[in-house]
C-alpha cells in the first residue's frame, strides 16, 4: 500500500517536471482566483467585525417618570433581569446622569451653569445578551416595559437599528453571493485549465488503459496532481492577498475601521489561511475529477 502511494507521488512529481508550463498555468489560475476570494474575504470579515463591535453598543435605556424608591427599584431590576433577552441592568440616578452629560459636553460644559441634576431623569440601562442584540430582542424588552406606567420613555436607537440590520443583511448576502460566484468561476476556470493539461496527455492516458491500467490507477496521479496544483495555488494566493492587504487595505479600510470605532484591520487568521489552502486543494482536486471524466474511458 505504502509502495503504491509512493509510486503515485513519484508519478505526480515526474508529471510536474515534464510539463512545467501547463502546471504553471493550473497553479496560476488557482492562485489568481483565490487571491480575489481572499481579498474580498478580508474586507467582508473586517467589516463584519466592525458590525459586531457596533452591535455591542445595542442597549435599551428606560427613563423613569420619577426617581424610584429603593425596594421598588430592586423589584424592577429583578423583573427585568429575569427576561430571557437581558444580560444585565444598571441604574443611573440623576446625579450620575448629570455627571455623564457634563463629560459628554466636554469643552461646552459651562452651558450647564445654573442647572442641576433635576433636569435629567433617572434611568435603567439594560444590556442585552449577544444573540438578542437585534431589533427583535430590543422590541421584545421594550414591549414588556411599556406596560409599566413608571417608565416615561425609552431609547434604543430605533432608526439606527433598522438601518444597521438592513446593512448586516446586505453584507451577508453580498458576501455569500460574491464568494459563491467567485468560487464557481474559479472551479470552472481551473477545470478547463486542467482539461487542457489532460488533453496534452491524452495519448499517455490511452496507453495506460491499453496496457491494463484500471481507471483508478490511471486517474489517481492526475487527481493528486490537481490537489497539489490547488494547494500550491492556495499558498501563492495567500502571498498575493497579503501583498494586496499591505498595499491597499491597511491604509484605506484600516483608517475607516478605526474612525468608525472598530479595531485595527486584521489579515486572515491561521485557521482561515489553512482553510484557503484547503479550498485551493479541493478546487484542484474537483477540477481534475470533472476533467478526467471526459478523458478516461476503458
Amino acid at each position: 500500500m505504502f509502495d503504491k502511494i509512493l509510486y503515485f507521488f513519484r508519478r505526480v512529481l515526474r508529471n510536474i517536471r515534464q510539463s512545467p508550463v501547463l502546471c504553471t498555468a493550473a497553479i496560476g489560475t488557482v492562485a489568481l482566483s483565490l487571491t480575489i476570494v481572499a481579498f474580498f474575504g478580508i474586507v467582508v470579515l473586517n467589516v463584519q467585525k466592525l458590525a459586531s463591535h457596533w452591535s455591542d453598543e445595542i442597549q435599551v435605556v428606560a427613563y423613569f417618570e420619577r426617581e424610584p424608591e429603593g425596594s421598588r427599584l430592586a423589584e424592577w431590576r429583578a423583573m427585568i433581569e429575569r427576561m430571557p433577552e437581558v444580560a444585565g441592568v444598571e441604574f443611573i440616578d440623576r446625579d450620575e446622569a448629570f455627571k455623564r452629560f457634563r463629560q459628554r459636553l466636554a469643552g461646552d460644559a459651562d452651558l450647564l451653569e445654573g442647572f442641576g441634576p433635576e433636569i435629567l431623569p433617572a434611568s435603567l440601562e439594560i444590556s442585552l445578551k449577544e444573540n438578542h442584540r437585534d431589533r427583535q430582542g430590543v422590541e421584545a424588552v421594550v414591549g414588556r416595559l411599556r406596560q409599566n406606567p413608571d417608565f416615561s420613555d425609552f431609547s434604543y436607537g430605533q432608526d439606527w437599528l433598522e438601518r444597521f440590520e438592513a446593512f448586516l443583511g446586505l453584507l451577508r448576502l453580498a458576501g455569500v453571493t460574491l464568494g459563491g460566484f467567485l468560487l464557481f468561476a474559479a472551479l470552472f476556470i481551473v477545470s478547463n485549465t486542467i482539461k487542457l493539461t489532460l488533453y496534452a496527455r491524452r495519448e499517455e492516458l490511452e496507453i495506460m488503459a491499453l496496457v491494463g491500467g484500471t481507471p483508478l490507477f490511471i486517474k489517481t496521479p492526475f487527481l493528486l496532481e490537481g490537489a497539489v496544483h490547488g494547494a500550491v495555488g492556495g499558498v501563492f494566493a495567500l502571498c498575493g492577498a497579503y501583498a494586496l492587504f499591505q498595499v491597499f487595505l491597511r491604509k484605506g479600510l484600516g483608517a475607516f475601521l478605526l474612525f468608525s470605532g472598530g479595531d485595527q484591520i486584521r489579515f486572515l487568521s491561521f485557521q482561515q489561511m489553512a482553510l484557503l489552502v484547503m479550498v485551493g486543494m479541493c478546487l484542484g482536486l474537483f477540477g481534475s475529477v470533472l476533467s478526467l471524466r471526459k478523458f478516461v474511458r476503458i
Partner: protein
C-alpha cells in the same frame, strides 16, 4: 485460446465492419489476418482487446466470454495481452526504460523486478544499450522494437499486432517478424493484422483472409 461465434460489428447503419464471423484460434498459433483496407482486420483486433463491443455474437479469449465482461474486468484481460500498433504508441516524454516498465508498474510489480524484466526485454530486442534514450532519438524500426518489448515484457498469452510493419522498410520488417517468431516459439499466441503479402510469403503461417467483414479464406501452408 480465441473463439468467435457469429460476431457482427457495425459502426454505421448500412455498413458492417464484421459480418457473422466465426473463428477458432488454438493456443500457440501464429495467424495472419489479411485483407484489403476496410476488410475488418483492425476491428477484429479491437474486439479482442475490448476497445469495441460486438453488436451480436460471442467472443471467448482464454475461456472467458469477453462480450459479457464487466468494464471493471477489462483492464485485467488486457494485462494478459500484448498489443503492438502501426504508430508504435510510445510515450515520447519517457525513456525506453520507462516505456517498457509501464505495463509492469500497472500490474504493481516491485521495482527490482521491473528493472530486471525491462533490461531483459530490451536486451531481447537489441536495445539495452539505449535504455535511457527517448523514443524520438530512435529510428522507426527501433521504436517498433521498443513497442514489441513493452508488449512482451508481461509474458502475454496473446500478442496482437495491428499493421506492425506498415511504416517500416523490408529489412526492418524481417527483424520485427523474427521477434514475433521468437515470442510464438515461447508459447505466445500471435495474431498479426497485415496486408503485406511479401511478409506473409517470407514467413508462411496460417492466413485468415477477410473481405467486407466476412471470412473468405482460412488456410494453413
Amino acid at each position: 485460446m480465441i473463439q468467435l461465434f457469429n460476431v457482427c460489428k457495425s459502426y454505421q447503419k448500412d455498413s458492417a465492419a464484421l459480418n457473422n464471423l466465426c473463428l477458432k484460434i488454438p493456443k500457440g498459433d501464429f495467424v495472419y489476418i489479411t485483407g484489403p483496407s476496410g476488410a475488418g482486420k483492425s476491428t477484429l483486433l479491437k474486439l479482442l482487446y475490448c476497445a469495441e463491443k460486438p453488436n451480436r455474437g460471442q467472443i471467448l479469449v482464454n475461456g472467458q466470454n469477453i462480450t459479457r465482461m464487466r468494464a471493471s474486468r477489462i483492464p485485467l484481460l488486457r494485462r494478459s495481452l500484448g498489443i503492438v500498433f502501426q504508430d508504435f504508441k510510445l510515450l515520447v516524454s519517457r525513456t525506453l526504460f520507462e516505456n517498457v516498465a509501464f505495463p509492469l508498474e500497472v500490474q504493481g510489480k516491485k521495482r527490482y523486478e521491473i528493472s530486471n524484466k525491462v533490461y531483459q526485454a530490451l536486451k531481447h530486442v537489441g536495445l539495452h544499450k539505449k535504455i535511457h534514450h527517448y523514443p524520438l532519438q530512435l529510428s522507426g524500426g527501433e521504436q517498433q522494437r521498443v513497442a514489441i518489448a513493452r508488449a512482451l515484457v508481461v509474458d502475454p498469452l496473446v500478442l496482437l499486432a495491428d499493421e506492425p510493419t506498415g511504416n517500416l522498410d523490408f529489412e526492418v520488417t524481417l527483424e520485427i517478424m523474427d521477434l514475433f517468431k521468437g515470442a510464438n516459439a515461447r508459447g505466445t499466441t500471435v495474431l498479426v493484422a497485415t496486408h503485406n503479402r511479401e511478409m506473409i510469403r517470407n514467413f508462411p503461417r496460417r492466413v485468415i483472409a477477410l473481405e467486407n467483414g466476412r471470412l473468405v479464406d482460412d488456410s494453413t501452408p
